[in-house]
Symmetry: C2
Subunit: 217 residues, 2 copies
């Protein structure tokens, strides 16, 4: 495949990439079936170690099930607040998810280990999980290209979500993806806009031949 | 940020996404500094749980260090072959990495746990790792938009790579990214072209309200 990407394609790609945000505020409206399909196909086009394709996507169309998942997330939000010490109140004022407002809710579950050795002898769970995360990032970017917001909710006990979604033993829920129309996209990560935490300069995460930021010998 | 992505932008984005491949064959040539910078910025623009930004990028410019890393990878490839049973010879004929041929080699290391609770009380390591994987997927897609190949090499013992890169305790190397010009991009995943393993149909990884593929009640 010798397809050359020209400057226009490159520019369009970077526009999508840099405009992607973790969204927690959603607007009314639906996701057209063909759009949902393209987003799922983007996820399924992700790289995976040894081509194991460990991601499983579960569309939540049952509103009672969605409400049960929302209940689990709310309980975990409270547990998190209890661990936040002096920032507990500030944390509880942040909007951290839009599960009940988003048009579509999609769970992403890591499949039980299929025994793949290729590329993961030394890091089996890590590499399966990394492949699932690549799929989610592909969906996130695709959603932004479709002018839809997406948020990755990780406020839950994976065992409880696995039970609700009737997952087989060894499967591990990683994400509840909130997807749908939004009024507008945040200008910067919401946690930065709300002064919860700042983005680091690239230079602070970049090293040459050794881990960055440590004292030079 | 109300920027609307039109059909042309969307089409360009999907072209890049679906043309991305895990590359192990590289051609001669360099990566211009501004191109490398855009790829690293794409990684650093990834989402991260609680905005923790746990990724660290280490550019390997020292050819002796690159050779040492290549040695670790080759040893792990042999260990993997020993675990492959009847497919051991077939495995050893596959090209699994291009560490010595690629223009640029970049290690991605997960930073030591910084104690972030937000969004990861129940899955601390998983969510930090997922954030690093999103950064790598962003870099992979950016590389493709720049007409460069990238391959994620995970054939190594993370402790040995951590020692070579002088990582602090608790840091975990996840990837050696081979990046550079290629002669052409694979039409399909190389492991599929070489009949190592096939891609699954989307329908087999997709469920509604429950885990896919299990017997319906």
């Amino acid at each position: 495949m010798d397809e050359i990407m020209d400057a226009e394609v490159r520019s369009a790609f970077y526009r999508v990439l840099h405009a992607r945000r973790d969204m927690r505020h959603f607007a009314a409206g639906e996701v057209a079936p063909e759009v949902l399909r393209r987003i799922l196909e983007a996820g399924h086009a992700a790289p995976s170690v040894g081509l194991m394709q460990p991601w499983r996507f579960i569309r939540i169309s049952d509103s009672r099930l969605r409400a049960e998942l929302a209940g689990l997330v709310e309980r975990e939000r409270q547990h998190t607040a209890e661990r936040m010490g002096g920032r507990s109140r500030e944390f509880l004022r942040l909007k951290v998810e839009g599960i009940l407002e988003c048009a579509e809710l999609i769970a992403v579950v890591m499949a039980p280990d299929d025994g793949t050795i290729f590329g993961r002898r030394t890091m089996p769970e890590e590499m399966a999980l990394a492949s699932c995360a690549c799929a989610i990032e592909n969906m996130w970017l695709a959603a932004r290209a479709e002018n839809l917001g997406m948020g990755w909710v990780s406020f839950f006990d994976p065992a409880q979500v696995a039970a609700l979604l009737r997952c087989p033993p060894g499967a591990k829920p990683l994400a509840l993806l909130c997807l749908g129309p939004v009024t507008d996209f945040y200008e910067a990560p919401m946690l930065e806009l709300r002064a919860w935490r700042n983005r680091l300069p690239l230079s602070s995460v970049l090293g040459e031949n050794r881990y960055p930021g440590e004292e030079k010998k």
